[in-house]
Symmetry: C2
Subunit: 441 residues, 2 copies
C-alpha cells in the first residue's frame, strides 16, 4: 500500500472523505518524511509540527461530526514564504523580513483554508522571489539546484513532503522548479488566482501557481483558488466552472499540438533539444512545428524590460534604505534597470497584445503550444537556480502554462510545457492529462 | 414657442416620440442655425446637410411605421472629429489625417445610432486632441477661445447647433470647454464609455464625455453610451441601471458638498476664486471646505508624467515620420517628455490608488466634491485653449466629473464642477441636478 505521504491530493482527499484515512495520519506521514529528508533537501523555511497536527485533528473532528467538508479537507499544502499566513511568519526569503508576522492570510491561503486544507508550513523561496538562491536542494540530486524562486514548494512536493504547494512566477519561478524537480505545475492565467497578501514584485507579471504530483491535482487545487478578487487589479470576472470536471473529460478529438522552439531555443543544450524533438516526433501527425511572427522574436527582452522596471519600482526602497541586506546579485540587477525609459516600458507592455493576438490565432488551430519547460535539467551547483528563459515569455503574455515531468536528460527529470489560451485552464489541463497518459504508455 | 434647435434632447426626443415634431424638422432647425452662425463660430470640421437630412427622414419613416424607437430617436448629435464614423471623414485635427476615412463607426457612435440618434457631423478638435487650437470660437465672445480639445462640440451645443455632442478628455478637454462655453458636460468614470474607434492618446487617461444643455440630457445620452466593451482594456463590467431614472429621483437628504481648492487653486484669478467662494457660502451648512493629504499635493505633476509618457508613446511615430506636419507646440511637448523614466511613470500610475483611497473616504462623508471647472472664464485670444489645470487631476484619478454653467465671471460663463466616486454617475448626476435647481432659484 502507498504510504499516505505519497498519495496524490485527489486520492488523499477521497480517502479522508470516505473515512479510510484521517488527516492526522496523513499529516503524520508527511511530517515523518520531512523529518527524514529535511536535513538534506531543506525545503522548509517554517514548519511547526504541532500546529500542523492541531489543524489536522480539528479537520478530523469536523469530519467525525459529519459537518460539510471542502474539496481539500484534511490535505496538507506547503506555502511559499512570500505568501502571508496569519499563523506563521512570512520572511520573503530576505533578512529584511526576518521574523515578520502579519495578522492576515493572503487571499489564496484563506481560500485553501475554506476548502479544508491544512496549511503545513512555509517553503523556502529565493531572496524576494528574485534569483538569489535559498538553501533548498534538488531531491533528485542534492548537488543540483531545485530551481527557483519557489524552490521549497517544488522540492517538497517532489520529495513527498506534501501532495500540494503554492508558488509564484514573475519570470520562471513556478514552471522551472517543477521541471527541475520532476513534478507537475500550473502557472494559470494572470489574474485567475488573487495576489492579495503576496509579496509584490511586478503587478504586470506576478502570478500564483500550484505544484502537485498529477494533472488532476492541479485542477483540484486550482478550483479552490480561482475566485474573483476586486482588490487585485488583474483579477477578472469569470464563471467558475470546475477545472477538475473539465480535465477529466475525454477531449472531443485527439488534441493537436503546435511545437514552438521559441526565441529561447539556443539556450537549451543539445540533449534537451533532442529529448523534446523525440517527444514531438513520437506525437506524429498530432504535433507540428510552428513559429510566431515578430515581435515574438523580441519577447525575452520585452519581458525583461517590464520585470526590471517593476522590480525596481517595488524593491527600489530596499535598495535605498538597507542595501546591505540585499544580495549583491539583486543590487546589481536593480541598479542595471534604472535607465529604462517610460517609452521602453510602455512599448514593452503594449507589445503583449500584439503577440497575444498571434498566439490566439495559432491556438485557434491547435489545442496547446508545446515547448520546453526549462533550458535543460537542473544544473549542478546551488549558487544559481538556473535560467528562466523558457518561462518569462509566457509570464509576460499572461497565458496559462502546465509542465509535465515527461522527459529525462542526463539522468535528471525535465518538463515538457504546454501553453494555452488566456482564461482557458480547463482545456489546457484536459489536453495536458491526455498527453500525460499518452506519454506514460 | 422654443425653436426646435433650442430644445433639450429630452424635450426633443419626447416631442418626436409623441408625433409633435419630426426629426427632419429638428435637423432643419439645427442646420438653419448652423448656416447662420457657422461663419462666426466655426464649430464644424465636416457637415453634409443632405446626409443629415437623409438620416432624419429615415428616422421619421421608422417612427411613422410604428417601429420601436431608441431613447435618442431622431435627435442630432455632434461628434468630435477624433471619433471614427463610417459615413464621414475623421481627420483628428491634423493635416496628417486630411481626408482620412474609415469603414467603421467607433463603438460610441454605433451606440448612438442604435439609440436612433442622427449623426449630424464632425466637430472641430484641437490638433490630435492635444493643445494646439482649431478654428472654433467661443459663441459668447468670438474673440475668446471656446476651450479645447473638444472645441466644436462645446461651442456647437452652446450655440444651439444641436442639443448633444461627444467629446473626449485626456487632460481637461471635456469639462473646460463646457465651462468656457456655458453648458453642461459629463466626463464619466474611466471605462464607462468604450474608446474603441477613438484616436488613442493615452490609454490610462482618454475618456469619452458628453455635452448637453441640461443635467437630464447628460443622463439621457450617457445611458445610451454606457456599455461594456471587451475590446477596451479599461472597460469594466457593470449592471446598466438608468442614469436618467436615478438623476430624476429626489436625493434622500439634501446633498452635502466638500469644497476643494485643489492644488490648482493659485492658477485661478481672484474673480474666479471669489465667484466660487460666494457659491460655496450660499450653500451654507451643506458645503464645507476640505483638503486631501499628500500625495494629492503632487497630483498635477503626476497627471503630467502619465500623459506625457503616453502621448509620446502614441504620437512618437508622428514625430519621427512627419515632424513637419505637427505643430511646433506639440513637437516641443513630445520632445520634452523623452527623458521620463519608467520609475517616474510607474510611480505616477501607482499613486492613483493612494489618492483614490483618500477620495473615497472623503466621498463617504459627502455626496460630491465641489470645485472650479476651469481656472477662470474663457481667456481672450484664439492662440490657446486655456489651462486644463482644474481637470487633469480628476482625469488622472478616473473619477466622474460634471460641470454646471452656474457662475459668471467678467461677463463670461464659467462652470462649477462636481466630482463623484468612480462608477457612481447616477448619484453624481442626481446631486448635480439638485444643485443646478438650487442655484437657479
Amino acid at each position: 500500500m502507498t504510504p499516505a505521504n505519497e498519495l496524490t491530493a485527489t486520492e488523499a482527499a477521497a480517502r479522508i472523505r470516505a473515512g479510510e484515512l484521517t488527516s492526522e495520519q496523513l499529516v503524520r506521514a508527511c511530517l515523518a518524511r520531512i523529518e527524514a529528508r529535511e536535513p538534506e533537501v531543506q525545503a522548509w523555511q517554517y514548519l511547526d509540527a504541532e500546529h500542523a497536527l492541531a489543524q489536522a485533528r480539528a479537520a478530523d473532528a469536523v469530519q467525525r461530526d459529519g459537518k460539510g467538508t471542502g474539496a481539500l479537507h484534511g490535505v496538507p499544502v506547503g506555502i511559499k514564504d512570500i505568501i502571508d499566513t496569519a499563523d506563521m511568519p512570512t520572511e520573503n526569503g530576505s533578512p529584511m523580513f526576518r521574523g515578520r508576522r502579519t495578522n492576515h492570510d493572503a487571499a489564496c491561503v484563506a481560500a485553501l483554508r475554506d476548502a479544508g486544507a491544512i496549511i503545513l508550513g512555509k517553503t523556502v523561496t529565493t531572496e524576494l522571489a528574485n534569483t538569489f538562491p535559498g538553501k533548498t536542494r534538488n531531491p533528485h540530486n542534492l548537488a543540483h539546484t531545485p530551481g527557483g524562486s519557489s524552490s521549497g514548494s517544488a522540492a517538497g512536493v517532489a520529495d513527498c513532503h506534501m501532495p500540494l504547494a503554492l508558488g509564484t512566477q514573475t519570470g520562471g519561478s513556478v514552471i522551472r522548479p517543477a521541471s527541475f524537480c520532476g513534478i507537475y505545475a500550473l502557472k494559470p492565467t494572470l489574474g485567475l488566482i488573487s495576489r492579495t497578501g503576496v509579496l509584490l514584485q511586478s503587478h504586470t507579471l506576478d502570478t500564483v501557481g500550484v505544484y502537485a504530483r498529477s494533472v488532476e491535482d492541479l485542477g483540484l487545487i486550482t478550483d479552490c483558488l480561482s475566485a474573483r478578487d476586486p482588490a487585485d487589479a488583474v483579477s477578472y470576472p469569470r464563471s467558475r466552472g470546475s477545472l477538475l470536471a473539465t480535465l477529466r473529460e475525454e477531449p472531443p478529438a485527439a488534441p493537436r499540438f503546435a511545437f514552438l522552439q521559441t526565441p529561447a531555443w539556443s539556450h537549451a543544450p543539445e540533449a534537451a533539444q533532442r529529448a523534446i524533438r523525440e517527444l514531438v516526433a513520437g506525437l506524429g501527425e498530432r504535433c507540428r512545428e510552428e513559429a510566431l511572427p515578430p515581435p515574438f522574436d523580441r519577447i525575452i527582452e520585452l519581458h525583461r524590460a517590464v520585470m526590471g522596471a517593476e522590480d525596481l519600482h517595488y524593491y527600489g526602497r530596499f535598495l535605498a534604505d538597507t542595501p546591505q541586506l540585499l544580495s549583491a546579485n539583486l543590487r546589481d540587477r536593480l541598479e542595471g534597470v534604472r535607465d529604462v525609459t517610460a517609452q521602453q516600458y510602455i512599448a514593452a507592455l503594449n507589445a503583449r497584445e500584439v503577440i497575444n493576438a498571434d498566439l490566439d490565432a495559432l491556438l485557434g488551430r491547435y489545442d496547446a503550444i508545446l515547448c520546453l519547460s526549462s533550458a535543460g535539467p537542473a544544473p549542478a551547483g546551488l549558487e544559481s537556480t538556473g535560467a528562466p528563459i523558457f518561462n518569462g515569455l509566457w509570464t509576460y503574455l499572461g497565458v496559462p502554462c502546465v509542465t509535465l515531468p515527461r522527459l529525462t536528460v542526463d539522468g535528471l527529470p525535465m518538463g515538457v510545457q504546454l501553453v494555452g489560451m488566456r482564461g482557458d485552464e480547463g482545456r489546457l489541463l484536459r489536453t495536458a492529462r491526455w498527453l500525460d497518459r499518452e506519454l506514460s504508455r
